[in-house]
Amino acid sequence: MQWDNTVSNEEKPNEKARAIRARQRAIGRELRRMYDDVAQEPVPDDFLDLLRKIDDAEDARTGKKVS
C-alpha cells in the first residue's frame, strides 16, 4: 500500500516534467525557426555593396602605396 502511494506520487511530477520538457522543445524549435528564417533570407544588396566598397578602398590604399 505504501509502495503504491509512493509510485503514484512520483508519477505525477514525472508527467508534469515530461509535459514541460515537450513544451520547452516546442519553444526551442520555434526559436530556431525564427533565427533560421532570417539566416535563410537572401543577403540584401546593401551588404554586397559594402564589401565592394571595402574592396575599392583597399585598392585605393594599396594603389597609393605602390605609386
Binding site: 533570407e41 544588396d45 546593401d46 551588404f47 554586397l48 574592396d55
Partner: protein, 217 residues
C-alpha cells in the same frame, strides 16, 4: 547558409590574398550576423545597420583575428559589443526615447517580429537582454555554452543559468497567454505568407531568387 551566398562568393573576395579569404568567410557568415542582429534589436532595419557596422569593424580589426579560431564567434562578439555601445550612445543622447520605445508593445522595434513571427518572438522581447542573448546563442544559434560565454564575456555557468531562466521565463510568458494554444499552430501559414511578403519587399524584382544574378552597377 544560403544558396545565394554561395553564388556571391564568386563575385567578391576572389583574389588570392589572405584578405580575400577572410572576406569570403565574412560573406558566408553575413546571414548569421543578420539573424543574431535581428534577435538583439527586434527590428530589421536596425539589425541590418548593426550587421553592416559589424562587417566594417571586423574588416578593420581583421589583423587581430587568429586564423583557425571560431570566426563566427569572433564576429558575434563584435556585433554584440557594437549593439550595446550603440545603445549606450542612444541612451546618452535621448534617455527618455529608449524608455518610451520599450514601453510600446507591438510598435516600433517589435513591429517586424510581431507581424511575421507570432507569440514566441514577442515573448522573447520580454526577456532581459542577458537572458535573450544567451538563449538565442545557445538555443537558436547552436553555439556551445563555452562559445556563448566568450561572446557574452561571462562564465560558462552564468550562461547555463541564463539559458535555463530564459527558457522558464519564456514558457511562463507564453503559457500565461491563454490565446496561445489555439493560435500558435494555425497561425503558421499566416506567418509563412507574411515572411514571403516581406522577402518580396526586400528583394528587387529583377534579382529574383538567385543571388548570383546580382551584379554591381
Amino acid at each position: 547558409m544560403t544558396a545565394s551566398a554561395h553564388h556571391q562568393h564568386a563575385e567578391i573576395g576572389h583574389n588570392d590574398s589572405g584578405d580575400g579569404d577572410f572576406k569570403t568567410e565574412l560573406l558566408a557568415l553575413i546571414p548569421f550576423l543578420r539573424a543574431f542582429a535581428r534577435s538583439l534589436t527586434g527590428n530589421q532595419e536596425g539589425a541590418d545597420d548593426l550587421a553592416q557596422e559589424t562587417l566594417v569593424k571586423a574588416w578593420q580589426s581583421r589583423a587581430t583575428f587568429i586564423p583557425g579560431t571560431n570566426l563566427k564567434a569572433w564576429l558575434f562578439t563584435i556585433l554584440r559589443n557594437q549593439f550595446y555601445s550603440d545603445r549606450r550612445r542612444a541612451w546618452r543622447q535621448a534617455p527618455w526615447d529608449q524608455d518610451a520605445a520599450e514601453r510600446i508593445p507591438g510598435g516600433g522595434e517589435d513591429q517586424v517580429f510581431s507581424a511575421q513571427l507570432s507569440d514566441t518572438a514577442r515573448a522573447l522581447r520580454c526577456l532581459s537582454d542577458e537572458q535573450r542573448e544567451a538563449l538565442i546563442l545557445v538555443g537558436a544559434g547552436g553555439f556551445s555554452y563555452e562559445d556563448a560565454a566568450a561572446i557574452c564575456k561571462c562564465a560558462v555557468g552564468t550562461v547555463k543559468s541564463r539559458v535555463a531562466r530564459a527558457r522558464k521565463a519564456l514558457m511562463e510568458i507564453l503559457d500565461g497567454d491563454d490565446t496561445l494554444d489555439g493560435v500558435s499552430r494555425p497561425a503558421e501559414g499566416d506567418a509563412a505568407r507574411e515572411i514571403m511578403a516581406q522577402l518580396d519587399r526586400l528583394t528587387p524584382p529583377e534579382s529574383g531568387e538567385t543571388g548570383g544574378k546580382r551584379r554591381p552597377k
